[in-house]
């Protein structure tokens, strides 16, 4: 009988876990701890507070602090967990408003991730930021008001979204990407090239294959020295401030302390009920490791969609229910300078690393029939397992209807469809919307022919 659930962390994962536990059981006591003083806000929305596409910081707060009381959830905001005695099922917390202990029957870790600092000198200067918290975003929005030159280290999703925001605010922005292309955790190099061309055409500077070496200056940055990894040429980029967005690591110290196992992704290992190796202890969101949907390879999700889905499962199970998380497909999307960029399942690189032999269906299509004005180019790839014919991934880049098309591929992966089934997909058609054979179907046709060999 579960009488008390403790949730550590009040990001999308922790807040969702608490809410879903409450929905499942109206009476169970729930305590929600957050080291930040804020209640749940959208982390993904942070870059848009800089550009103004999110108008107010407060708009990002999805669950205001006072809303928890109405749900009979005790939200302890601004409190850190100092220790956990899992044998006694007690945890100890401390914050500006004092300290205390809390007994629990079920415990949910939603401790998230923290920025992984790269080996760069000068990271300890003022005006060197991550972009992970509301306070980060507030500070960066002020920088956008006064600074001229910014350097973004890391061309992943956060780095690129931040770069777009500062560029839109009129700053001189340079993205420094260590790998040969930006966004390689999401798309293949040929798609990344299209995205880079698009961003550069809008005036963004992107340095690929380039290592940031040192942030120079006094208290604050004046410039960043970078080295082209191919030519070994070293140059200096002027920088009034620097954003470091080189990825994150799961926050697992408390969980490890009580004996929760970590997996190869450095996340807390969980089963399909989102339970760790410890009975009644769950982990969800960026701190948790679960299985990639297709190959069942352990991975950390690192996605808001995955976090809330895992959190729902853990919240219900922690309250005595029994639901399952089906695995992480990893559907990702963003929009940069109007270009929609979408990816699901395995990339070519992932497929190669996970030893999944693939056949590609690549298409340069259009979002609308050729006779209708205003259609946009759409670059589209689908990947099928060479042995089984099953859909294992897909990527789209285009100025419209790329992201929503991706959703078809994600459901297709979840339903285990093969190239024949994607080819038989009856897409909707109207001149003002899309052609009779959607580019998705055309890509399946291309792949079908290659699978026959």
């Amino acid at each position: 009988m579960v009488e008390h659930i403790a949730v550590i962390g009040c990001g999308a994962a922790g807040a969702t876990a608490a809410l879903q536990a409450r929905k499942f059981d109206r009476k169970v006591a729930i305590t929600l701890f957050n080291s930040e003083k804020y209640s749940q806000y959208s982390r993904c929305g942070l870059p848009y507070t800089i550009s103004g596409k999110v108008k107010n910081f407060e708009d990002l707060v999805l669950m205001p602090p006072e809303s928890w009381a109405g749900l009979n959830i005790d939200a302890k905001l601004g409190f850190s967990i100092t220790d956990i005695d899992h044998k006694k099922r007690e945890l100890f917390f401390s914050g500006a408003d004092g300290e205390g202990k809390q007994a629990y029957d079920s415990l949910i870790f939603a401790t998230g991730a923290k920025n992984a600092d790269p080996p760069i000198k000068g990271l300890d200067k003022k005006r060197v930021y991550g972009l992970r918290t509301l306070d980060d975003a507030k500070a960066l929005a002020k920088e956008a008001d006064k600074a001229k030159n910014s350097v973004i280290i890391g061309g992943g999703l956060v780095g690129m979204e931040a770069a777009e925001a500062f560029h839109e605010r009129g700053l001189n922005v340079t993205v420094v990407e260590f790998l040969p292309h930006i966004l390689l955790a999401m798309v293949d190099p040929d798609m990344a090239q299209i995205i880079e061309d698009h961003c550069r055409a809008h005036g963004l500077k992107i340095l690929n294959n380039t290592a940031a070496q040192e942030i120079l200056g006094g208290d604050s940055p004046s410039s960043v020295t970078v080295k082209n990894r191919e030519t070994e040429e070293v140059s200096k980029l002027p920088a009034d401030f620097v954003v470091v967005a080189t990825g994150v690591r799961p926050v697992t110290n408390l969980a490890q302390k009580i004996g929760a196992d970590l997996g190869p992704s450095h996340g807390i290992k969980t089963d399909d009920r989102m339970m760790t190796n410890l009975k009644d202890v769950y982990a969800v969101g960026d701190c948790a490791e679960n299985l990639e949907f297709i190959t069942r390879t352990p991975m950390a999700g690192g996605l808001g969609t995955v976090a809330v889905r895992q959190a729902r499962v853990a919240g219900i199970n922690a309250a005595g229910g029994d639901v399952r998380f089906p695995g992480i497909v990893g559907a990702k999307v963003t929009k940069l300078f109007g270009l929609e960029i979408a990816s699901t399942g395995l990339t070519e690189d992932m497929a190669s690393r996970l030893e999944v032999p693939i056949v590609k269906g690549s298409i340069k299509g259009s979002t609308k029939p050729p006779y209708y004005t205003g259609g946009q180019d759409l670059k589209l790839k689908t990947f099928f397992n060479k042995d089984t014919g099953k859909l294992v991934g897909g990527q789209l880049v285009g100025l419209e209807d790329a992201a929503m098309r991706l959703n078809v591929l994600t459901l297709g992966i979840q339903q285990d469809i093969d190239a024949d089934e994607l080819f038989d997909f009856e897409n909707c058609y109207a001149p003002a919307v899309c052609d009779t054979w959607d580019p998705l179907v055309q890509s399946a046709d291309v792949a079908k022919k290659r699978l026959k060999r």
Copy 2:
């Protein structure tokens, strides 16, 4: 051994059948007959030649007449079939350029549909049009150049798309709809109401529940008398010309003549190889009847997407292949004054007529997260079989991303998913694109709760 394939009709269905037969067999002789002098053009694109969203009539021609020779397909354009001797497998044709006969091994009917004239007086006047052929569209584009007042009889897809086009050209347009709402073959009354409100807000006049009685005038129309079916009030609508868009009937006379069976939809009955009851005789597109995907009820497709998919199957099979048509889901979409309107599977009315007990997931959502500027309202319904929980239909109306979301539901129907599986759908998420729980998933959540009872 198939040596000669004859295809009657060169719309999307006939042209696709011929092309796919050629792809499958490089040597088989193929003759393609069309009573119109044009080669394949997009019928669905016709309304947009009036508004100018399709710039030239020629743009609609997908296969120019001269393109067939290069494919070694003998296209006899402007020829009608006068008789068929199926015992001898010969057909007789006649046109402006003479007449002749043609032997065949496989025969494909792609004879399409024709306008079904409603019981209205005065239909024989000049300047009373259908909108089904390129010549219709050319004449109507000329009307838009000179006329002031138009009446569109019938608020289905063709009627509404034509009404939008004339309205955009500055004409005074009234749509006369016999039923209580427009577009009821596609959407439920509550969705139709949203669409009507939107069109009216843009200045279109729509008279629901209204019977057109007589087209008055001399040689040409001067007005149309209409009667409100509820109040029985009769009124006169000024009309320089009239468009009649009250639906179509399959063209089946030739097929019937040689003994092909018709089904309850009045279309030519076909099996899953698109073959009629006569060996080696196929029927595809608007003239053909096949099975509705979910209930396996006989129906005529009446959709371009369905036509080309059936035609591919028939073309390959006629050439000696063996592929199957999976049935008609019936995904439909259009855009009126910027509003995307999308429907798939069963409507409430269809479900009732086909005795499928349904549970609804209705959502008023937004296309983007609440904190991000520019999201649009999205009205969304999903239908699930009350007994099995399976997805059987869905409708969306919104200013963006309604049509592409529909595609997820259509694939879901084709993959036989239930409410739990739609709820587990991992939609892509980014603030600039869509929220963490897509409205599709939210609708599944609503339905799941109702299915539990």
